[in-house]
Amino acid sequence: MSIDVQRIRADFPVLAKLINGQPLVYLDSANSSQKPNAVIDAMTTFLQHDYSPTNRSAYTMAAHATDLYEGARANVARFINAPRAEEVVFTKNATEALNLVARSWGTANLGEGDAIVLTHMEHHANIVPWQMLAAEKGFSIRWVPLTSDGLLDLSNINQLLAGARAFSFTAMSNVLGTINPVKELCALAHQHGAIAIVDGCQSVPHMPTDVQDWDADFVAFSSHKMVGPSGIGVLWGRESLLDAMPPFLGGGNMISDVKLDGFTCAELPAKFEAGTQPITEAVGLSAAVDYLSALGMHNVRAHERDIATYAINALTDAFGDDIVIHGSRDIEKRGATISFAYRDVHPHDVSQVLDQHNVCVRAGHHCAKPLMRLLGANATVRASFYLYNTNEEVDALVSALAEAGDFFTL
């Protein structure tokens, strides 16, 4: 069974947008997705009728808002099959979630002589926090290389993991679309006594997630890439690890007591949620999770498998050797995020021409400069498809690309 894309499109008001009479072709969902009415309305209704601070005041409206906020947490926990809702910590985005792990778990567990393992396909959000901490603590970072078709090269993984304390990797590359074997990687990490940290930013929105089946220790992802609002992200962590970690940000809500000479922490999840939280955003994220759950994440993945196949074929048929699609051609090993080089037209120029046809793609380094260096490019064009994209939009991409080719070879 697949999903009914036309019905889905009707749920997303922005997709009805016409610019100069032409439809919007939004192919930048790996960057941030659009939002359905269900999410927008949930937020609007909350703001119009039910807004209240949470977890502080005791009147009925505050209790109701708290129920919605904690309900969002339970809903997210269910969505990723977390054993306990208290293990779900809301952050401002996935970046904060990864910083939280690096800073809080890392400070307590990493020192001189230690090592952690990252991969060459990581997003800056899963690199820079570790580099910042490494500069302070003096541990080393080892890197898993890639194969020529953009998969993780695991031939030396046991050497890389030997003695490492943590293995932090993306579940899906935001540039290549590569789907990594998360379960296998978690098992490898554990065999070597390392914890497994999964950057789920690109996988959670696009396929089913089961943190228990993965046997991961931490998983980070962002609401705004999964049809939810901006301003909220998620860190799921194994309770025993979260419990043992020092706090991250200090302030209201995360304390049990504060005296002039020190404070004591609250229990999970409050311990990691300092200050007033993104309340309306949690309500929106909960609606997003409901929306995706109703469609079924298996169906979302099936649709993306189809559209990625169609897109790769269409681009190759149209441009042959003039286009280089990065990453794997094996559709079981990749999502619908497609980065490519087109002739010698600079990605920024490609994107400019596409924009004249309302075809929205990202041109740049995609916050993955180490990977860019491997690809030998300082930028790629990236078209990323999601549950609302159609084959006709692939066709629009192809014909706009043809024009870019014409234009730059006058």
Binding site: A58, N253, S256, D257
Partner: protein, 146 residues
Amino acid sequence: MPGLEDLYREIILDHYKNPRNRGTLEPPAVRSEGHNPLCGDEIEVFLIVNNDIVEDIKIAGQGCSISQSSASMMSAAVKGKPVEQARALISRFKHMMSIDEEGEPDTSTPLGDLEALQGVVKFPVRIKCAVLSWNTLSEALDIAAE
């Protein structure tokens, strides 16, 4: 909407105004402390356990009528009782407060006055108040068992 009478039964107000077992105990009594971060309530439970019997219990701290009366009723209910029975009561009380405890509650120990706190369930914000002293007792029992 449930009315105030559902929450503030007379027996609750009585325990609030005339708290039982109020005070402190010196070591070798064990002590444990609980906070309700929401409203600032603080409770201290002092406990003497001998031969698996709760020989004495005292309650200190400040709090709202619900947390104070709950603590007072609790102290009256467990004083002189076997530890096992006190634990069963904790579990039963939490069940009554709709707090996830696994399995079915052991109903062999009667709730007595505590029944009056049933109305708290209709005021979810206050459940934490009602349960505070029970969690603190549970901790004190753990310490005593060490």
